[in-house]
């Protein structure tokens, strides 16, 4: 199992979502991708897409206006 961090701080939509989709493509099933974001729209569309794609998703609020979306690639 591999863990990878994707820095999307300071990036506006739809850049975090597109970057997440690309990064997940290169990972194997069971690997974990941690997406760092500070754009509240990305808080909605990144987890929404990841859940719809069937992955396990958890959101952590790390600071004021800063979140980490933890995605475990499920398929």
């Amino acid at each position: 199992m591999q863990e990878q961090t994707l820095d999307c701080l300071g990036e506006a939509c739809p850049v975090p979502l597109v970057k997440t989709q690309k990064a997940l493509e290169d990972l194997a099933v069971g690997d974990v991708l941690i997406v760092q974001i500070d754009h509240s729209c990305a808080m909605k569309n990144v987890p929404e897409w990841a859940r719809e794609a069937g992955h396990n998703v958890e959101i952590e609020e790390v600071d004021d206006g800063e979140w980490e979306i933890v995605i475990e690639k499920a398929k």
Binding site: G10, V18, D38, S40, M43, G65
Partner: protein
């Protein structure tokens, strides 16, 4: 004491539902519809955003001793009347200020305020270019996605649907460009 209080509020379910988490799209849509009806009833004009910015520009020019009297855009009786009434007596201006204040309030109360770092020069160029293009486009199109799209469709105007077709076409081209430049 304060720390205890803020911790207690932070754990409260209703704080989370109403103030912390983003509201569902439907809630937002219903509220926007209700408020735009109120706007139309109270001010006599449908909701618009970007037209006020052009007036801000005119007031700035006037503040520095310039004049927009001869500009075609400001030549109509309506435009002249709005400019003469001034900054704080323009409903669209006050509404825009309220929008900014409201956005700040909502992000503060959700304790999600953050000043974002500028990552690359590309972002600066894209923001300035994008802003100029949007502002210019909204003026020569006689409205932005609020005045010329949302309010127009709400008023059963065909022009709103024409605007919708082209704004979607523009958004598709824009997204492709954005992905190319920023990926």
């Amino acid at each position: 004491m304060l720390k205890k209080l803020s911790d207690a509020i932070g754990k409260n379910d209703y704080y989370k539902i109403w103030l912390k988490d983003a509201w569902p799209y439907v809630t937002g849509a219903v509220l926007l519809s209700v408020f735009q009806i109120g706007t139309l009833a109270v001010t006599g004009n449908p909701w618009g955003v970007s037209a006020a910015f052009a007036n801000w520009g005119a007031w700035i020019i006037e503040a520095f001793g310039g004049s927009v009297e001869k500009w075609y855009y400001f030549s109509s009786d309506g435009a002249i009347a709005v400019l003469e009434r001034g900054f704080l007596r323009d409903p669209a201006t006050v509404r825009n200020l309220g929008l900014i204040a409201g956005a700040l309030f909502s992000v503060l109360i959700a304790s999600a305020f953050k000043i974002k770092k500028i990552k690359t020069k590309k972002q600066v160029v894209a923001a300035i270019l994008g802003g100029l293009l949007m502002g210019y486009g909204a003026r020569i199109g006689f409205g932005c996605n609020i005045g010329a799209l949302y309010s127009a469709i709400g008023a059963f105007s065909l022009s709103g649907w024409v605007f919708a077709v082209f704004i979607f076409a523009g958004a598709i081209i824009g997204s492709k460009l954005l992905v190319k430049v920023f990926m």
